[in-house]
């Protein structure tokens, strides 16, 4: 630490005092063997290229082959055959539809609830610290544990949900995660619960960047709570709201662990998200090429979502 302090001191001494923008134009860090920034980038770039970019390209290529696990013949190119099969695979499109319902069905309520909670936490309320502390819990938990925890809640016999409903006189025991009609809504609630804190914290940070004077001025002008929200809060919050919603939409469309633990995709495929479907296809049935094609279709859809988000953000920047 003493060396750092010395460096800092000498740095201060050498910078011409009181000269605004001192040191510009910037002297480039000295020459020598380590002059090129490539040297510093390489340690991260190599693993990224070898274990991320490379495999992704390989994965896209696999979608055009008949790759299978435990295959005796060599893997061959089959062109767009996987995609043609996929087009007629009603099970896949079922799961695709479920994936979209799940992504929207989690993201929208999650956003509304998180917005409400963020607005509350922005007020000076007594239990605020507790809410902030509790908000960490779902965020920090392994998704597997979140799934296990809610299975305990939903348990038909020993779960607290059915017991509470019994106490309130609201009907007989339900098999929440095993029922054809109740499974998807039941996992949606868990999805909302699991992602809400993260969204809340992001929105809260956005709220706290809103200039306070604007609120006060609007209040002095006699604006009601709703008017203040519409004219002051929302415009300032919009970029954060847009960003976090777009990311949530994409993350939710790609989710796996939560539903894998809760229902395993059942009953009767009612909660089989695209990731679960592709996982089973690849690692239970060994259809690597076909599963890779599913991945490609998912990428295509996500690209559209991502493009919408980027366009929205650019438009937001223009508006300002």
């Amino acid at each position: 630490m003493s060396a750092t302090t010395a460096d800092r001191r000498s740095a201060r001494r050498r910078t011409p005092a009181g000269a605004p923008g001192a040191g510009r134009p910037r002297p480039s860090p000295g020459s020598g063997p380590f002059h090129s920034p490539w040297f510093l980038v390489l340690p991260a770039l190599l693993p990224i290229l070898l274990l991320s970019v490379g495999p992704i390209l390989y994965g896209i290529a696999l979608a055009f082959t008949d790759a299978q696990s435990g295959r005796t013949q060599a893997t061959g190119w089959i062109g767009a055959l996987n995609f043609r099969d996929l087009l007629h695979d009603t099970l896949f499109w079922d799961s695709f539809r479920i994936g979209l319902v799940w992504a929207v069905g989690v993201t929208v309520p999650q956003f509304l609830l998180a917005l409400g909670l963020a607005l509350l936490l922005d007020q000076k309320l007594r239990l605020r610290w507790l809410a902030r502390a509790l908000a960490i819990v779902p965020w920090a938990m392994p998704e597997v544990v979140v799934g296990i925890m809610w299975r305990l809640v939903y348990n038909p016999d020993a779960g607290i949900l059915n017991e509470t409903l019994r106490d309130l006189g609201l009907g007989e025991d339900r098999v929440w995660l095993g029922g054809l009609a109740t499974a998807l809504p039941a996992v949606l609630v868990v999805g909302v619960w699991a992602g809400m804190p993260q969204t809340t914290v992001a929105l809260l940070a956005g709220l706290q960047n809103t200039p306070r004077e604007l609120h006060e001025a609007a209040a002095l002008d006699g604006a009601g709570a709703w008017q203040r929200f519409r004219t002051v809060t929302w415009p300032a919050l919009r970029p954060v709201a847009l960003a976090i919603s777009a990311l949530n939409l994409i993350w939710n469309f790609n989710s796996f662990a939560l539903v894998y633990v809760l229902t395993g995709g059942g009953p009767g495929g009612r909660t089989r998200l695209p990731m679960l479907f592709a996982y089973e296809e690849a690692f239970r049935y060994g259809q690597f090429g076909y599963a890779a094609a599913m991945g490609c279709v998912m990428v295509a859809v996500i690209s559209v979502l991502l493009a919408l988000y980027l366009v929205g953000r650019l438009k937001g920047d223009e508006d300002r």
Partner: protein
């Protein structure tokens, strides 16, 4: 916010809403804890109660008997520590370059960071599985760690780039005038000031790996190698019939490290996440 008065009824409504949120956030977690400490008799009772009548640690003992929890936790710890360490080591210099230079490389790296956040992992895991299999790194923690490093890099880069930007560039320029090379500047001037940011990033990478499930499920085949989240799913049994008490006990234990670490770094992560999502 206190600049304008909130009327009594409105305030009451706010507290009502806050309590509703608190209940919604807390009740599954409280139920998990309650279940973990209940004896088998109470778990079999048709009318479960919130507070265990005869709290017991039997479930914890049974959980350790049924599944290799300690070894799984050891595996998780090893993979997560190694991943966090390597991720920070390789990400710090790159983040430094990203923060200090504008070039096509930084643009490409930023683009990759955005895309990688959105990528469906199934398209990544199939080729990775094949590659790691050829390298005999399937069912090995080394292979999993490598995947975790790359997986946590985007976020690590994002966080660290923000921390580097917060270091006054004048300090580096002064050192450069003195003839220090780029590496020298990074090691002796910038890195020491990045300390807290590097720790926060490493902890985040650690938690990400500790909690991760999908890659571990695919890559680790034998119980001796599996990480804690994968071993936890073994409690669920083949037909989804679970021994509720030990299941709850094990799940509760698996959460504790994450909770502690997360409580420490929560604020820093929020900042990094927002910077990434909104400003970049």
């Amino acid at each position: 916010m206190s600049a304008f008065r909130t009327s009594g009824p409105a305030r009451f409504g706010q507290y009502l809403a806050l309590v509703a949120y608190l209940v919604f956030l807390a009740f599954p977690f409280l139920w998990l804890i309650s279940t973990a400490f209940k004896p088998a008799v109470e778990l079999g009772s048709p009318h479960p109660t919130w507070i265990p009548r005869a709290p017991t640690l039997d479930n914890f003992r049974q959980a350790f008997d049924e599944q290799p929890l300690l070894r799984a936790a050891g595996n998780s710890l090893l993979a997560a520590l190694a991943a966090a360490l390597v991720a920070v080591l390789v990400a710090t210099p790159m983040a430094y370059v990203l923060a200090r230079h504008r070039s096509r490389l930084t643009a490409a790296a930023t683009g990759w960071v955005v895309v990688s956040q959105a990528f469906p992992f199934v398209l990544l895991i199939i080729p990775l599985f094949l590659v790691l299999k050829n390298l005999h790194l399937v069912n090995s923690l080394a292979g999993l760690t490598a995947v975790y490093v790359v997986w946590s890099l985007p976020f690590a880069l994002w966080m660290l780039t923000g921390y580097v930007r917060a270091v006054p560039v004048e300090l580096e320029e002064a050192a450069a005038v003195d003839g220090a090379g780029r590496l020298r500047v990074l090691v002796s001037v910038t890195a020491p000031l990045l300390g807290p940011g590097i720790v926060a990033t490493a902890l985040f990478a650690f938690i990400t790996a500790w909690n991760e499930f999908f890659f571990a499920l695919v890559l680790l085949k034998t119980p001796e190698k599996q990480t804690l989240p994968v071993v936890l799913t073994h409690f669920l049994g083949a037909e989804g019939v679970a021994d509720l008490g030990p299941l709850a006990a094990a799940a509760f234990l698996a959460t504790l490290p994450s909770l502690v670490v997360f409580a420490v770094i929560q604020r820093r992560i929020t900042g990094g996440m927002l910077a990434g999502a909104v400003k970049s």
